[in-house]
Symmetry: C3
Subunit: 357 residues, 3 copies
């Protein structure tokens, strides 16, 4: 079972390495799963990821330059192509075949740069999480952010799998309004091939102030509100949250205009055992023609996630101080426990061949 404090890394998986717009024509370094990686975009616009360490003197390649042939080390000038092979050594005609660095499979799609950190032979692009709303700027205008959090990546998933935290952590922001509406929402949890899906319904409630401001619900209107979350191993969560006026039949069809509706992608990429990158993008599905509405949503989400961040880092620190102590699950942990089980199955499957050796 994965440790609560420090879930191990699943390696054979796609992770977000960066946002597409982070990678330009200068080397971009990031530590992922404890490995130092350097990403760059060549003149043709293609993104590559290499280990951030020259094979000559171990110098980080991030200190070098992108050149037409690839990435050139800034210390003594060795140049490496996107496949990691050395293609030039100053003052030396012959290039030994050992002159190479590790290259990682990379796919750029839907504004994400995905990286495969495990066995390259197993890298299957069809396993990349699909998030088509990032390509639908007309219906889902959006803006993304990224936070560096000093906690194990699975604590972020835990956070998203138990929304009873909202009226407590976020009591001053999105969790304002009726606390018990939140706590007593009707919860439907379902195991999926890739993880777990749940939906929480709060029927006939007074909409929270942020919903009123966003969607313009009239005075005295009550709504049917939903929180739809899907976790996909190892570390993606797709969220669809919204509300429609009571009587619109939200439970049968949520895709109606005139209400409140937002989508968020949450991705956690491990940096180390006790730190991760939180990639998120928030899409405005209610006032698509108003850029200011998208910006306001982005700001509210950014502020909200900073509240989570404080708790996640404190929780990590407490777990590390006493890693052996047991924790006590509550009723509200149902989806969280299922998500951890899905994660543990993936981890076990990856480690099984090792165990068999």
């Amino acid at each position: 079972m994965s440790s609560q404090a420090n879930a191990p890394f699943v390696h054979n998986a796609w992770y977000q390495a960066a946002w597409s717009n982070e990678i330009g024509d200068t080397p971009f370094a990031r530590t992922l799963l404890n490995e130092e990686i350097v990403l760059f975009r060549d003149a043709g616009g293609c993104v590559y990821a290499l280990e951030d360490r020259c094979c000559h003197r171990a110098t980080p390649l991030r200190l070098g330059e992108v050149v037409p042939e690839g990435l050139r080390c800034g210390y003594h000038g060795l140049t490496f192509g996107g496949d990691g092979m050395c293609v030039g050594i100053p003052g030396q005609a012959k290039i030994p075949k050992q002159a190479r660095v590790r290259s990682y499979p990379v796919v750029e799609r839907q504004e994400f740069v995905w990286i495969w950190m495990g066995d390259p032979g197993l890298a299957d692009e069809s396993a990349i999480v699909d998030y088509p709303w990032n390509d639908d700027h007309a219906n889902w205008p959006h803006k993304h952010g990224m936070y560096h959090i000093k906690c194990n990546y699975m604590l972020l998933i835990d956070n998203l799998m138990d929304l009873t935290h909202i009226p407590y952590i976020h009591r001053k922001t999105i969790g304002g309004g009726s606390r018990m509406d939140q706590v007593n929402a009707r919860m439907e949890v379902k195991r999926t091939d890739m993880g777990v899906h749940y939906i929480r319904w709060m029927l006939g409630i007074t909409p929270p102030p942020t919903y009123v401001r966003a969607a313009g619900f009239g005075d005295g209107v009550t709504v049917d509100r939903w929180q739809d979350f899907e976790y996909m191993v190892p570390a993606s969560v797709i969220q669809w949250t919204g509300a429609l006026e009571v009587g619109c039949g939200a439970e049968e069809n949520r895709a109606q205009p005139g209400g409140f509706s937002l989508r968020i992608y949450h991705g956690a990429t491990p940096e180390t055992e006790n730190s991760c990158f939180y990639f998120w993008t928030a899409a405005n599905g209610y006032r698509q023609d108003e850029p200011q509405a998208t910006e306001t949503l982005y700001q509210e989400i950014a502020d909200t996630f900073l509240e989570d961040l404080e708790f996640l880092e404190a929780q990590q620190s407490a777990l590390e101080a006493n890693p052996e102590r047991t924790l006590l699950n509550m009723k509200s942990d149902e989806a969280r426990v299922q998500a951890r089980r899905a994660f543990d199955r993936m981890l076990k499957a990856e480690q099984a061949p090792l165990a068999a050796e």
Copy 2:
């Protein structure tokens, strides 16, 4: 024998956790003896200490709120009473009996909040160090301070048990004046039930400038000066320092008006093996009706202890760098050695049952 660099913790003892006025209606966190503690005061004014870790997801309770029922976790809303029992779980009627956190015995007395870090069954309030001067505002107006010091707590006790440091560390402040008066003081050391008591007499000396300013000794007056220190295991020192004009019979009766007289309580509470909290309170026994005199005394003591702090942290660092090297006792270490012996006896008594297992 206790290590010079890192004396272990005595657990079955009362330590100062905080000053009374530090604890209000928001959670107050402090690490004591390597344990993370959260203190709070309920609506009735009673102070409680709990472990700073929710039993659900290990979240520090310091991020929560004081509510009428006790302390509520800020993550998912579990609430704990002052005895550590969970009294409320949002969305869940039944509270499992394992839902609890550790509670520590606490006593609030004489402006101190005392905490018992060991076996609660052994917590005996009569063993709390008595410091009545904190309750006597008329005769002993006082003001307190607290320093966080990056040294083992026993190095602070060592410092107070060998006052020949005064003319060196404090050569620019209270140690000014005649160095040899200090070094050659007549020293009387006596073992006590709780530790060691010593008194140093400097008879017929010229009073130091700070004494003259404080007590208004006339030109050419000489004084009999004393330094009376009592160490009580594990980490309290009560000081009474003063001077009376020669001829007043100070050696027979020090409690006379007209001279200089101050009392200081010094308490060292371990935070970790190599850091501690230094709680101190300084009482003006010479110009009781002048608040400015109390304030001036406080400032002088505060500055003086900062000089010690620099040395203690450097000493800790040097001891840790070479913990195995022996140190060489001098004549001036007599009371210090006795204090360490008393401490070692207490430590040994506490560890004896463990050794016997």
Copy 3:
């Protein structure tokens, strides 16, 4: 063979502890080879080095004072002579013979303070690297600097033994100009008793802009340029760099006026396994009567070495992250490999008696 990431310390060797002008009449502390040292200059101008730890309570002596008898501890006033013997204990007539601290052989010469960190019985002053140019202010006016670098000391030596780094690391400063002139210089490497010597010749090249500005070469003039480096174990490199107009016979006689010529001493003194002090002094051999030329040279060298520093620290960090991984030598590593071999011979010789035990 010495580890690339963390070459061990050679102890029986002279290292630069400080520049002469760093040591005055207050204690000066520096950690060398993981030992905390305090240096001071007595009233007679003589420099001494003691361990920075009083034998009484381990207090660092750097917090004390230089007094006529030597160095007095700032805690309880013990005084130590330059030989480390205790010469005074306040309040105590008899000084026990164990009251002493370690003293290190020190030699002040040519603006350097050299220290011997190993067996004092083996300290032979004739083994100190000779750098007479520091005494020749008329012909070699100079100015020195010192950098603290978070890398193992031998990485600095490596840097100086492979100058193909110049057109890459220093591409914005001294490495500007024709990259291939640098990379394809004619390299002559020779093993010496004390290490390795090499000279690189770039014949008939266009002088780099800094050379033109410094020496005033005319328009269209081409030069013969040399880079002469000698490494002496364990951690000294003497550099003589310059250029003369083509036709002056530079290869036969470099000591001619009218060209460009500078000398630099480079010394690396270990602080810890992964940090060192870089002592360097740069001498102007082309416009000796112009103090501004010496100052300009100093500034250019200081800026250049900061560029190296960034790489060395990043390289150290990468080596430590994966110390077991092999590195791949290139043709340009010839002198560097020889320098490491000389270093390894010295290390092996020092460790041999230990191995034989």
